[in-house]
């Protein structure tokens, strides 16, 4: 048991930054990303014995992170659709609920935060596949081959998704700039 705990600790220490940053790019909320990162590693802990080694361990962990992030976003969107009134204030902390369009990525320098906010607002509106491909390529800096392994797609399909994501982002950013009078 102690040996398995040591190796699990190594896995967590090696991959926690990647998992957290991927989650935060999808969820655009630090607290949610922290919770999600915990859920990812709990899943890793329970599924470690079943891991057959067909892909690398990092690809496997990325896949779990992406799937859990997308599940989280789907649940969140379902709640939004059925919630007739959303509270301005967070029920637990009493703080004002922050809109995703005001998301401040903790890894972005102060002078670039405004641009990053608009970019993340546009990313939030992409389809699931485009969002995943774009985040993994441009933010996590995975290769198209690695992204293909995570998403179970060919490199060509990934390349196409990335191009379409960029085109879609360009249009959405133009809209955002217009709305803000920039």
């Amino acid at each position: 048991m102690e040996d398995s705990n040591i190796s699990f600790r190594e896995i967590v220490d090696t991959h926690k930054v990647r998992v957290f940053n991927t989650a935060i790019s999808f969820l655009q909320n630090r607290e949610d990303a922290e919770d999600l990162a915990q859920e990812v590693f709990i899943e890793v802990y329970h599924s470690l014995e079943k891991f057959k080694g067909e892909s690398s361990i990092s690809t496997w962990i990325y896949r779990i992170t992406v799937n859990k992030s997308l599940d989280f976003l789907r649940k969140k969107n379902r709640k939004k659709r059925f919630g007739f009134m959303t509270s301005l204030f967070n029920k637990e902390t009493g703080e004002i609920n922050v809109d995703a369009s005001h998301f401040d990525h903790p890894g972005i320098l102060l002078e670039k935060k405004e641009n990053a906010r608009m970019l993340f607002e546009a990313i939030e509106q992409l389809s699931e596949n485009q969002k995943t491909a774009f985040i993994l390529f441009h933010i996590e800096e995975l290769s198209q081959k690695e992204i293909g392994e995570v998403m179970s797609l060919s490199s060509k399909a990934v390349e196409s998704l990335i191009q379409r994501a960029k085109a879609a982002l360009r249009l959405k950013l133009e809209d955002i700039y217009k709305k803000r009078g920039i």
């Binding site: 220490d13 940053n21 922290e34 915990q38 990525h105 903790p106 890894g107 320098l109």
Partner: protein, 82 residues
């Protein structure tokens, strides 16, 4: 873009949740016992319901027999005094 760091207590938070899920999960034996008890209670209730139903049905038949029985106070020899 710099990488953001998660909580320094992430590993401890994870292990705490894993331990909590182990404590909360019921053992296989107690689950089997609960299911067995539920089945037993359902069977007992079912048997009782069926027997009550049968009793009522046979009870109705018997009361029908009584009204036509010669033990009824109304018979051919009844004298009506006016």
């Amino acid at each position: 873009m710099q990488k953001a760091e998660p909580s320094v207590f992430l590993f401890e938070q994870i292990t705490a949740k894993i331990e909590m899920s182990k404590v909360g999960s019921p053992s296989y034996g107690s689950t089997l016992l609960k299911w067995g008890l539920a089945v037993f209670v359902s069977v007992v209730i079912g048997v009782n319901v069926i027997s009550i139903f049968k009793f009522r049905t046979s009870g109705n038949e018997m009361s029908n027999v009584e009204t036509t029985s010669s033990d009824s106070y109304l018979n051919n020899e009844t004298v009506y005094n006016y």
